[in-house]
């Protein structure tokens, strides 16, 4: 199976996968903690509109994807900050609108309708070489941002109201989080495809949450889990193909593997019990007779007044 490493396409896929796991671990942790996991699917499909426009107007489709992804993310962020519409609703909207625009732009393009969907289904075995560098740069950028702004980002993801009161630049941090998510999703679409992006931004962070608290530890663990899943998936699917003649598409195989890991992790978590739940409960119940005396007197007052009527 190690023979796989002799092939350049395999080496490239492995490096791309490991680099993607880092970015996905960082961004996925925020996305899962903030409970907006559908944002990866939403922004990927919002980017689809940009791919269509790129075809129609004759500029690189991935530049259009990046622009549409970023604008959708920032647009959602601004609307959410002003109107509190709910990010889940806005995500579904940009998802549908992006697809609609992509289809319309493609239909307007002269000649045969291009197969835009192929852009969404990038294949980890055919990563364009330039994207190795893009992904490496993305990783470095994400690490710098997270190291430098960890606490304000954590605060805004957790409790926007208090963060604002404390003096954190909430709008800037919120838009930064969404913008980072958009750039990550769009770059990773080309590397691993939309379906694997959704999986990598969700499942490793969800597994990490089973075993640790704290965004920093979740990021490390999620990146490691993603890396293990991708590596194992690449080798096993190569091995099946080379030895048994069974050709399973690698991306979907990785997804099933990581989802299987989630199943194992969830079962183990369930069997081991929730962490120290019982021990951390304080004796929250006083003697029964101690129920709020003032309330009791109010009730007595109510009874009294009712009796007089």
């Amino acid at each position: 199976m190690m023979g796989a490493l002799e092939y350049e396409f395999f080496q490239r896929a492995l490096v791309a996968g490991l680099l993607a796991a880092v970015a996905a671990g960082i961004v996925g942790t925020f996305v899962v903690a903030r409970r907006i996991s559908s944002i990866s699917g939403g922004l990927a499909h919002a980017a689809f509109g940009g791919i269509g426009l790129g075809y129609l107007a004759g500029f690189p489709p991935m530049a259009g994807a990046l622009a549409f992804g970023l604008l959708s993310a920032l647009g959602m962020g601004v609307v959410e900050l002003r109107l509190r519409q709910g990010l889940d609703t806005l995500i579904a909207m940009v998802w549908a609108v992006g697809m609609a625009l992509g289809i319309i732009f493609a239909s307007l393009a002269p000649g045969a309708t291009p197969d835009l969907l192929s852009y969404l289904f990038g294949n980890i075995l055919f990563v364009p070489p330039a994207y190795l560098w893009f992904t490496a740069a993305l990783d470095v950028f994400l690490l710098l941002v997270v190291v430098r702004l960890y606490r304000p980002l954590q605060a805004v993801a957790f409790d926007e109201e208090f963060s604002w009161v404390a003096g954190v630049p909430v709008a800037a941090m919120f838009l930064l989080l969404l913008g980072l998510t958009a750039v990550t999703v769009v770059i990773l679409i080309r590397v691993v495809g939309v379906i694997l992006v959704i999986a990598l931004l969700t499942i490793p962070a969800a597994i990490a949450r089973h075993w640790t608290g704290g965004l920093d530890r979740m990021m490390l663990l999620a990146a490691a889990i993603g890396a293990v899943g991708i590596t194992a998936g690449l080798f096993v699917s190569y091995g099946l193909s080379a030895n048994v003649g069974l050709d399973i598409p690698t991306g979907p195989f990785i997804i099933l593997l990581v989802a299987g890991l989630y199943g194992v992790s969830a079962s183990a978590r369930f069997l081991l019990g929730r962490r120290r739940r019982a021990g951390s409960r304080e004796a929250a119940t006083g003697p029964p007779g101690e129920t709020s005396a003032p309330l009791a007197s109010v009730r007595a007052g109510v009874a009294g007044s009712a009796g007089r009527q």
Binding site: Q154, E161, G214
Partner: protein, 254 residues
Amino acid sequence: MSAPPILLRDVSFRYGAAPVLESVDLRLDEGDFLGIIGPNAGGKTTLLKIILGLLAPDRGSVEIFGRPPAESRGVIGYVPQYARFDASFPIDVLDTVRMGRLGVRRRERSKESRAAARAALDRVDLSGMADEQIGELSGGQLQRVLIARALASEPRILLLDEPTASVDTRIGRSVYELLERLSERMTIVLASHDIGVISRHVKTIACLNVRLHYHQSRELTPEMVEAAYGCPVDLVAHGHPHRVLPSHESEGWE
């Protein structure tokens, strides 16, 4: 004379057509400890959010030490109703309390903010819980974590929204005793529906039900309660015509 910590002039606020606050005037001086009581949906949380600058009033003005709330961020410590945020978020107690330090000194070193957070946890008797995930705390513990978080910012004003709604009497009492000690150093506003408990600890009391009824004393007049609750005074009274709640020194409730 310096500007008062909180000064509201003729503040009104509505959600759609429904008035939530009407012509609220309020002035608090340094060291004041105000309890605001009133029915649910009477506007208590809205009033606190307007003081904090989280909501802008439709009419009227708000000044915190003479400046608009948006320019006074970090001056006020805020203890929200604990049920209002996601307690399953992956964050431990110490990091939660350190949020209070974010606005204080932007470039504060980790070591210093940790020390300040630990000191704040000490003050609410939770020093042993620093590494716990907030999702694993009881209601009373979480409530005290939120108070510690507000204290960590070394605020000059402390606003608390129903700080004892989710805790039992014993913990509630320890929260109020802590607040009484704190009130020697800062201005405190406390919103609660728990008339009896609040009146034993605060210095002055106000009734809020769209309009604010406030006479800068601790006595609740029957008119205040009736106006605020829109119900006969003897719902909350004990029969004294004017003193509807016992004073601090009189025989206790327990």
